[in-house]
């Protein structure tokens, strides 16, 4: 279905490009209610953490309406088993797929542009297997399905190719795993969005902060769920040593990626000052909630 739609766009010319350029992010500002700005759940198994977080956050129906096409963007970047905490927890992804379907999503798509061989990553992370059986479409990223979007507010970049499934989705849920990262100190939600970026991503690493935020600000997701069930504390982002993995059994959820990322720093005892790209996101006002005024709800499942 999806690909058919895409290829018809390529066939009928620029129509697809025009539509594709509408950013998927920033669409939903959570409707009032008394929901908190973010939720922090700890001491549970992945599916239970998710369940608790969604309840505390006012239910998935806040974000998903009947017939939505939902993209879930986990981190599947590396050819590693889930235990190494290099890729998003597969049980969490599977549970999330189910929740989205129950909330009325017509289609749920799961994909990532990987760093290692994509078929190896999809398999070793176990995300392909479990997300498929939970009812998601898990397809490989095809390199002819990227669309250049213009970055009107870019300070360094003026356009960048983004995966079309991502752009065309009605709702997008970003599911990073929290890891340390040699270059960007940590990788959480903002950095995880690199998995929908096409082109030569290596070149983003040079003057990283500016370039990443240039692109990110156009593609912010509907919802961000930080997987901190296992947290990679050293040798990130690839890992490979179980001794570097801390089992934190935690999950953070917010409709503001920047807030979720800022909260995730607590997992590592990092200060905002140490993480340039999150700081930059605040400087450019990508946050929905003020840094020191987040209405955070904490749930302890133990």
């Amino acid at each position: 279905m999806r690909r058919r739609k895409f290829l018809r766009y390529t066939g009928t010319g620029l129509l697809g490009l025009g539509l594709g350029a509408v950013p998927a992010g920033n669409i939903i500002r959570a409707a009032g209610s008394n929901a908190p700005d973010a939720v922090w759940v700890e001491n549970g198994e992945p599916a239970a953490l998710l369940q608790a977080a969604i309840e505390a956050y006012g239910g998935m129906r806040r974000f998903i309406t009947d017939g939505d096409v939902v993209v879930i963007k986990p981190n599947i970047a590396w050819d590693r088993a889930p235990e190494f905490a290099s890729t998003t927890n597969p049980e969490l992804v599977a549970a999330l797929v189910k929740v989205c379907r129950e909330a009325g999503a017509k289609e749920v798509k799961v994909f990532d542009r990987t760093c290692n061989n994509p078929r190896r990553c999809y398999r070793s992370s176990r995300i392909e297997e479990v997300a498929k059986s939970a009812g998601a479409d898990v397809d490989q990223v095809r390199d002819y399905l990227f669309t250049d979007i213009s970055l009107a507010n870019g300070e360094e970049l003026s356009e960048w190719p983004i995966y079309r499934d991502y752009l065309e989705a009605d709702k997008v849920i970003n599911v990073p795993i929290a890891k340390v990262h040699s270059m960007s100190t940590v990788t959480v939600g903002l950095k995880n969005l690199m998995g929908v970026m096409g082109g030569d991503r290596g070149s983003i690493h040079n003057r990283f902060t500016t370039k990443l935020i240039d692109i990110d600000q156009e593609i912010l997701p509907t919802l961000t769920i930080v997987d901190a069930y296992r947290v990679l504390m050293h040798n990130g982002p690839v890992g490979g040593d179980l001794a570097d993995v801390k089992t934190a059994r935690t999950l953070i959820m917010s409709d503001c990626t920047v807030t979720a990322d800022a909260l995730a720093l607590r997992l590592f005892d990092y200060q905002m000052d140490q993480v340039e790209h999150i700081k930059e996101a605040y400087r450019r006002g990508l946050n929905k909630y003020a840094l020191d005024g987040v209405n955070l709800k904490t749930v302890n499942l133990s």
């Binding site: 290829l7 088993a81 190494f84 760093c115 290692n116 690493h205 003057r207 490979g240 040593d241």
Partner: protein, 532 residues
């Protein structure tokens, strides 16, 4: 008989194609993909010359060699996929019958000259026969030429067809089928594709001259099997009712029936296709096939003079093949697959089949068919080209599929500690050193559990007096395994800021495999403990 032969021929052909397609990630060794290559009758012979042993690894070939003195060249007629391809091509191009090519009989001896030449070269440790092994030729052509071209065309055709509205549904069903079962890899890009296509295409084109031109005149495996079939017991017998119409002699695929005596079969040439039995007019039906315990003998078309000629030629070729370029730069870039034997043994064992290159395409995609770097022996051996791909840390599949164990089948844990080489920074290019700006993409991708690329963070004071912190990467020699992902992912255009040489590569022998690896640094990989 002919229909049975045709059916078996097609089944073997399909079997080989299935084995070829199956050689990819995820790979299961239940039906080893490389078994096809172990059918080659030449492999045990040259393995014997190199190592004075008869290895049961090559059991399919050994069975064929044992049966050939009894049955003749049934391998050529029934099994060899190159032969089957040639039969198909000869139908397409309408090869002429034997009237035109009677004279060409004198070319038959060429294959013996080649075989003897290769044997002499192999005795002097110049292994170049693999380039002409029929199964290697077939697999190499599939890997480097046919499969990439096929995927290129089918993928783009399918994409184009989707633009026709009513075709969308069926075409997408096909596209999905292709992508999940036949060509999940990205389009393979192969160096040496032109030369390998030229050899393969040339062999096919010769069908325009005679049927099975390659098998009649050039194939060293055919020569070996022909030599063994001189006395074979299973014979073609012609009844007295034969009017010597010469039809079978004209039609014979191998020109194995003399035009002046249709009762005789040249056993050295006959590949037992059983076409003659069908060619014989039904009213006469003079041809039967039977076992006889006192078979007649057919002489090999190979004179003492030709033997001397091939000996001299072989010795000359030794010189030609051994002249080295001594290009130190090229030598350092000959990066062999992980678990390769020491270079000389590796060159002896490698049959240039490109099976490793094939499976690497669905993994890190670093392996490529080499050109001539030092001398002719290098041609079409696998080398890691780290700018077109890298060795995937969790992959050990090239060793799994190498038919001759030129690449040893390393357990995954062992493979991860086996270095293909060592990475060096080129500080004139590397962004942090050349421009004093951050990058360290290489460090990010480095897969060893304790990263082999590390960095120093230092303050840089720009000419305008502004200051910034920059991460300057360096390589820890004890941790680097030369997998090349750093070189592959380096965002610079052209030459990377880091490159792998074969310095510090681990070359293993079978004996090393039973010993634990030499303690290598503080590497602390534990992945094997896990169920995945």
């Amino acid at each position: 008989m002919r229909s049975t032969r045709r059916i078996i021929q097609v089944l073997f052909f399909l079997f080989f194609i299935v084995l070829f397609i199956k050689a990819r990630y995820p790979y299961s060794n239940a039906l080893p993909s490389d078994i096809m290559l172990r059918f080659s009758p030449l492999v045990p012979v040259f393995d014997f010359i190199a190592n004075f042993r008869i290895s049961l690894l090559f059991w399919p070939a050994l069975i064929i060699l044992l049966l050939t003195p009894l049955l003749g060249r049934f391998f050529c007629g029934w099994i060899c996929p190159l032969g089957t391809t040639l039969d198909g091509v000869s139908h397409l191009v309408n090869s002429p019958d034997n009237r035109k090519s009677i004279d060409a009989k004198k070319w038959r001896s060429a294959k013996f000259i080649l075989l003897v030449g290769f044997v002499i070269l192999a005795i002097f440790s110049v292994p170049v026969w693999g380039h002409f092994d029929p199964l290697s030729i077939f697999n190499r052509a599939l890997t480097v030429v046919l499969y990439p071209v096929f995927t290129l065309f089918s993928e783009s055709t399918l994409q184009a067809l989707t633009h026709i509205r009513f075709m969308e549904e069926p075409v997408f069903a096909m596209f999905d089928f292709f992508k999940s079962w036949i060509m999940p890899e990205d389009q393979a890009q192969m160096q040496q594709v032109f030369w390998i296509a030229l050899l393969f295409g040339g062999i096919l084109a010769l069908e325009k001259v005679t049927r099975r031109f390659w098998c009649r005149n050039l194939c060293p495996a055919g020569a070996l099997l022909g030599f063994l079939s001189q006395f074979r017991f299973y014979e073609r017998l012609v009844a007295d009712s034969c009017p010597q119409c010469g039809k079978c002699a004209r039609e014979c695929k191998m020109n194995a029936i003399p035009e002046d005596d249709a009762t005789f079969t040249n056993k050295v040439e006959c590949i037992e296709c059983f076409n003659c039995g069908v060619t014989c007019p039904p009213k006469i039906d003079a041809i039967t096939y039977r076992w006889r315990w006192k078979p007649y003998h057919s002489a090999v078309d190979y004179s003492r003079r030709q033997f001397l000629g091939s000996a001299v030629g072989g010795v000359g070729a030794i010189g030609l093949a051994s002249i080295g370029l001594h290009n130190k730069k090229a030598q350092a870039r000959v990066i062999r697959p992980p678990g390769s034997l020491p270079e000389n043994e590796f060159l002896d064992q490698c049959i240039r089949c490109m099976e490793c290159v094939r499976i690497c395409q669905s993994n890190g995609r670093c392996l490529q068919a080499s050109g001539v770097t030092e001398n002719l022996e290098d041609l079409w051996t696998p080398v890691g080209e780290m700018r077109t791909g890298y060795c995937e840390f969790n992959c050990n599949l090239c060793g799994e599929v190498c038919p001759t164990e030129a690449i040893l089948p390393l357990p995954l844990e062992r493979k991860k500690q086996t270095a293909m080489g060592l990475a060096y920074f080129d500080k004139d290019l590397c962004i942090p050193y050349a421009k004093d700006e951050d990058c360290i993409v290489c460090e990010e991708h480095c897969p060893t559990p304790d990263k082999a690329i590390k960095f120093d963070e230092k303050e840089y004071i720009a000419p305008d007096g502004s200051r910034r912190m920059v991460k300057y990467p360096y390589v820890d020699e004890n941790l680097c395994i030369g997998c090349g992902i750093c070189e592959y992912k380096c965002p610079l255009k052209g030459e990377a800021g880091i490159y792998v040489t074969n310095e510090k590569e681990d070359r293993l022998t079978k004996e090393d495999l039973v010993k634990p690896p030499a303690p290598k640094s503080k590497s602390k990989s534990q992945e094997n403990a896990l169920p995945y």
